[in-house]
């Protein structure tokens, strides 16, 4: 492995004492084809909660990855406690007291919580007086003590693979505290948490600030910034748009700054007009590869013109449920009906032809063929039919025509129109392409799994409108989402899934988001 170490001339820069604990001056970072950060300068005071707000791809994570030593800036300088620094590795950042909780946790799944926390700075002891070993007992004691001190309860001897997302995040936080980090970076920390867990996390963040820590919060959730942040830097397309005072700026102003235009945050929803039953699921049971029942005896039905939303914490069987209905996962019990016809054992192709559209969670691997061009991807579910295919030969002209029409109608943006390789498109436009394709099938049932995951506010707004439009056009919609906001905004009926079972099914009007959050945690009342 070759590390490119950039050294900057030290001459002439007089920094002296500074009220800022971290300063990044004129930082630019380029990746092949894009400028991730373009001459960004930020300054963070000791003991404040500093938020970084921006859409996906705005460059927030890249900026912080440079502070954490994962990348090195192409241009610009970084100062920590007034001293100019070169951060060539996370180890160098850790020495300066900088810690980071990544969006995708960096944990060893088959290690215990304590082993994960002490990794890299393990307490040592000499076995039999000479054999150097890791003192895991001391580690366990230290971690138990540390977790009590900060109110972050963990069992040091539990394995990471056996604990949930919120516990894993706790481990990441403890990892920073164990290293006595003073500057704590959180990258989208609430993305995978339930409302209760978010509340708890924000409380912890405030407590950490009270304890003298400096906190940098990367997020695109405006409410969280309002709740905890002192100041907020807004980034868009790699550039710094401005730094605002969180207390005196409204969320609407923040949103507009971030997107660069007026955003409609409230979507008006017409009253529902339910028709006949389209999807009926009875006693559905699905086993995973290990033979465990991840979906247990689930039953529900979705009518035409209804959005049935499945709420739940990630990993409670909702993805398997969607896959089973779509025919991607085998069922081990129960029956599925589409518009009165049983489709429990039908092939995926038969389900599509019978009137089912599916927008999968993993849009890049399940929803698209990334190396195909846009025209081909848009015809992925109809290429075998006229006019795309005549007597076994593909008709490129039909692909072009169909592709151009959809690009126009659904405002799919791409470099080279129908010939664009889908891999090169942005996540938002990839999703637009999938949704365009699935809507064009004019199916009776549309299944949306995490349709707005990882997208920015503008794209989210757009997609939610489309989902509502499909419902108003009389289609049955099965929506599976981890975002409670999304479920509350769209659903007509909510089913909460917990450990593979539908714990509660009720009209959305009868539930509050708080109540749904409780059911998501398994509280049945």
């Amino acid at each position: 492995m070759v590390y490119f170490i950039y050294t900057y001339s030290q001459g002439g820069v007089k920094t002296g004492l500074s009220e800022y604990i971290v300063e990044m001056r004129g930082v630019t970072k380029r990746f092949p084809g894009i400028v991730a950060n373009d001459n960004v300068s930020i300054a963070i005071k000791k003991g404040e909660i500093y938020a970084l707000l921006g859409e996906n791809g705005a460059g927030k994570s890249t900026l912080m990855s440079m502070l954490f030593g994962l990348y090195e800036p192409d241009e610009g300088e970084i100062y920590v406690r007034g001293e100019k620094v070169t951060l060539e590795s996370p180890a160098a950042a850790a020495k300066l007291g900088i810690g980071m909780v990544h969006q995708h946790f960096r944990l060893i799944s088959n290690y215990t919580i304590a082993q994960n926390i002490v990794l890299g700075i393990e307490p040592k002891k000499r076995l039999l007086g000479f054999l150097p070993t890791v003192d895991i007992k001391k580690a366990n004691r230290d971690i138990a003590e540390l977790s009590r001190r900060y109110g972050l309860e963990v069992d040091p001897t539990q394995k990471i693979e056996d604990v949930g997302v919120s516990m894993q995040q706790r481990v990441e936080i403890l990892k920073m505290l164990y290293r006595e980090a003073e500057i704590l970076i959180f990258d989208e920390p609430t993305a995978m948490l339930t409302p209760q867990e978010i509340e708890f996390l924000l409380k912890i963040i405030l407590e950490l600030r009270a304890g003298g820590k400096t906190i940098i919060l990367i997020t695109h959730k405006l409410e969280e910034i309002k709740q905890v942040a002192d100041r907020c830097a807004v980034l868009a397309r790699g550039k710094l748009i401005g730094v605002i005072d969180a207390a005196t700026t409204s969320t609407r102003e923040m949103a507009n700054m971030m997107v660069g235009r007026e955003v409609e945050t409230d979507i008006d929803k017409k009253p529902a007009n339910f028709g006949r039953e389209i999807l009926k699921v009875e006693g559905l049971t699905v086993k995973n590869d290990d033979g465990l029942e991840v979906v247990k005896d689930v039953g529900f039905s979705v009518r035409a013109g209804e959005i049935f939303a499945v709420a739940g914490v990630s990993g409670n069987g909702q993805i398997e449920l969607a896959d089973a209905v779509a025919g991607l996962a085998k069922t081990s019990g129960g029956r599925i009906f589409l518009d009165g016809e049983e489709i429990t054992h039908a092939s995926v192709r038969d389900r599509i032809l019978a009137g089912m559209s599916y927008i999968p969670e993993d849009r890049q691997n399940v929803g698209l063929v990334l190396d195909f061009d846009l025209a081909e991807n848009l015809a992925l579910k109809s290429y075998f039919k006229e006019p795309f295919c005549r007597k076994g030969f593909l008709n490129r002209a039909a692909f072009e025509e169909h592709g151009n029409r959809l690009i126009e109608e659904y405002d799919i943006r791409s470099g080279q129109g129908t010939h664009t390789q889908v891999r090169s498109m942005s996540g938002g436009n990839q999703q637009k392409a999938i949704i365009a394709r699935e809507i064009e099938l004019e199916s009776k049932l549309m299944i949306f799994v995490q349709p707005t995951r990882g997208l920015d506010i503008g794209a989210i707004e757009n997609i939610r409108r489309q989902i509502l439009a499909e419902r108003d056009a009389g289609r049955a919609v099965l929506l599976i989402s981890l975002e409670l906001d999304e479920i509350m905004a769209l659903a007509d009926t909510i089913g909460v899934i917990y450990r593979g079972q539908l714990l509660k099914t009720a009209p959305a009007a009868e539930l509050t988001s708080r109540k749904v959050g409780e059911y998501m945690m398994g509280v049945s009342a």
């Binding site: 996370p90 995708h104 990892k175």
Partner: protein
Amino acid sequence: METFISDGLSFALPLFVIAIGGIYSERSGITNLALEGMLGMGAFVGALAVVLLTNGAFAGEFYLAMLFACLGGALFAVIHAVLCINFRANQVISGVVINILATALAAFLAKLINASVFGQNSNKFQLSTAPTLGTIIPGISGVPVLGKMYVFVPIILVVALIAWFILYKTRFGMHLRACGDNPHAVDAAGGNVARTRFIAVLASGALSGIGGICFAYYIAANFSPSIFMGYGYLSIAALIFGNWRVMPTLAACLLFGFARSGGYAVAKLLALPSTFSNLIMTLPYIVTLLLLVFFSKTNRAPRALGEIYDKGKR
């Protein structure tokens, strides 16, 4: 019965030390199909040292061979480490290519050196037989099994114990296993993924070399290109059945060893012609296939195995 046990152990233990080498490499996240090539080249270097440095009457010959086999294996493993870690090559392809290279290189060099140094037309290096415990400790020469046990059996057990200790009880071992599960975590924790993996691959070469020279001594008492019999692949199978863990892998190796010696015992008992006894030699491989069908489903490879580590990947 005695031959059954001692043959079984003599085959199982070299297989085991090679499998530990494989465990080191794979637990650090580097797929290692090159065990076959490493054991062969290790044995080659060990045997070469013997024929060049001794005149056939040196008492410590076996230990000298072992030392050089260990060094040779490690040296040859550098190729795999550089290709996979520095050049981010596909690890499966690198492994396969190294095996082909080793087969060709060993045959070519053995012939060349025999011709130019000794003036012989041969691709073999003659070795003496491996010493047994009985020859070292005269007091136990009469004890069944133990007396006729090759010294490499206890040596490998000690090596295995040390390897196990390093892998599970030391900081280095903890980092090594962490690299195979989530290298990003190691990086974020201030560890050096590339260096840890490099050392792991070298260790796998060194351990394979030890196993290789033991096979050369035990099976033929010489080095020839027929050392490439697929034992490296068999040890990969053993470590997979052993779920990438040292102790279960020992069990798998013992199973293979006794399947093989049991096969010989049966062939001898039935007094079969040699065509059929060759068939019996396929026994360990048939056992492998059967085990593969029944057990490999529940086994779990290290999560980051074979993944090219890219620091910037999110």
